[in-house]
């Protein structure tokens, strides 16, 4: 009997834990920070560095993007191309503030994830993984699609050459 009681108690705890887990998943399904439309420009042959662009939508309280890492390059850093006195300066950004309710865009000619020393050339259509670290939201793994920023005409042109 005692053993059965213990068994029931254990079952109760498991059910409680499972319920908590389901609840946890439900909460996690709507994260405060959502990273979307992540892409990297396909790189020319021989190019050592690349750039990743993305949008960070913050549905929660104020947060900060404090780190980036990837296995696709020797190092990844947050950079911003700032124009000062007509000169474009790339500056490292240690922490990017993400205000509550704001969507921050990392776009060409502005803030981007700089990839130093690419492990391999970034080929259009392929994907690379990137991990973003936020001060509050923690780590978020994202999938970055590599895009030929020269646009469809160039691709069509290349296919045209391949055609018999």
């Amino acid at each position: 009997m005692i053993a059965t009681h213990r068994g029931l108690a254990r079952l109760g705890r498991i059910v409680a834990l499972a319920a908590a887990a389901v609840l946890g998943v439900a909460v996690a399904a709507e994260p405060a920070i959502r990273v979307q439309n992540a892409w990297a420009r396909a790189t020319p042959p021989g190019a050592q560095n690349g750039a990743v662009y993305l949008q960070i939508a913050n549905h929660g309280g104020a947060d900060r993007l404090v780190g980036v890492r990837t296995s696709a390059a020797h190092a990844a850093e947050l950079h911003t191309s700032a124009t000062r006195d007509g000169v474009v300066e790339m500056r490292r950004v240690d922490a990017l503030p993400i205000a509550a309710g704001a969507t921050v865009e990392l776009a060409p000619g502005g803030t981007h994830v700089m990839l130093f020393g690419l492990a391999a050339r970034l080929e259009a259509g392929a994907h690379v993984g990137l991990t973003l670290t936020f001060a509050n939201a923690g780590e978020i793994d994202i999938d970055v699609v590599i895009v030929d920023a020269r646009g469809p005409p160039a691709t069509t042109h290349e296919h045209g050459h391949d055609a018999p």
């Binding site: 420009r41 790189t43 020319p44 042959p45 021989g46 190019a47 050592q48 560095n49 690349g50 750039a51 190092a75 950079h79 191309s81 124009t83 007509g86 000169v87 474009v88 300066e89 790339m90 060409p108 000619g109 981007h112 700089m114 990839l115 130093f116 020393g117 920023a149 020269r150 646009g151 005409p153 160039a154």
Partner: protein
């Protein structure tokens, strides 16, 4: 007699009307020419000579100011380790070249990517890099002192901020596009941001005004 005087009047009226149209065209044309062209950047009323320099092109050959002669040249100063603004500018320039070829088939143009990072950008690396954006794009680099002559002539600025790793350093640089006319002299500078449609429109305006005298 009556018929011929009507004809005289008609001919006189015709001449008067044509003279009026010609005068108005001449006046409007003259008035327009007096104003500087408005573009996304600035146009020099008198083209500026580049001075003397000797650079290296993407195939390792010597390249001097006379090699710009005979066609319009767009020059962008950057380096291949630049992942953001340089590819952005070269994609736009490839688009500009395509648009100009469609709109102004008589305007031959060349696009040059001038590397301000000769330490790392060899001619081979430059060739691989620039031809990715357009098969006809050219690359130039060379001795820092020689590069400075061309850069000064077109108002390009660049420097390596101190305290960086000697292998992965970044270079700060101006992001303007210089336009040389077929005489090989500087005619205009397009300031960033560069949008291909706007640069192509601006070039068309410059070509319309200076295209006949720029050789």
């Amino acid at each position: 007699m009556r018929g011929s005087s009507v004809a005289y009047v008609a001919v006189a009226a015709g001449i008067a009307i044509l003279a009026g149209i010609a005068a108005s065209l001449w006046w409007r044309h003259g008035a327009r020419d007096a104003r500087p062209l408005e573009i996304g950047g600035y146009v020099f009323p008198e083209p500026r000579s580049l001075g003397a320099f000797e650079l290296v092109d993407e195939s390792g050959g010597k390249f001097g100011p006379q090699d710009f002669a005979g066609r319009w040249s767009f020059l962008y100063f950057g380096y291949t380790y630049c992942p953001d603004v340089c590819p952005l500018a070269l994609v736009e320039l490839a688009d500009v070249k395509k648009r100009v070829a469609e709109r102004l088939p008589s305007a031959t143009l060349g696009v040059y990517f001038v590397s301000i990072d000769p330490e790392r950008d060899t001619p081979e690396r430059l060739r691989e890099y620039v031809t990715y954006f357009d098969a006809d794009f050219r690359g130039l680099t060379g001795d820092p002192g020689q590069l400075a002559v061309l850069a000064n002539a077109v108002g390009a600025v660049y420097f390596v901020p101190p305290g960086q790793d000697p292998k992965t350093y970044l270079v700060s640089h101006s992001s303007s596009i210089a336009l040389l006319e077929p005489s090989g002299r500087l005619r205009a500078v397009f300031t960033s941001p560069h949008v291909a449609g706007q640069v192509a429109d601006d070039f068309a305006a410059i070509f319309a005004r200076y295209g006949s005298t720029a050789r």
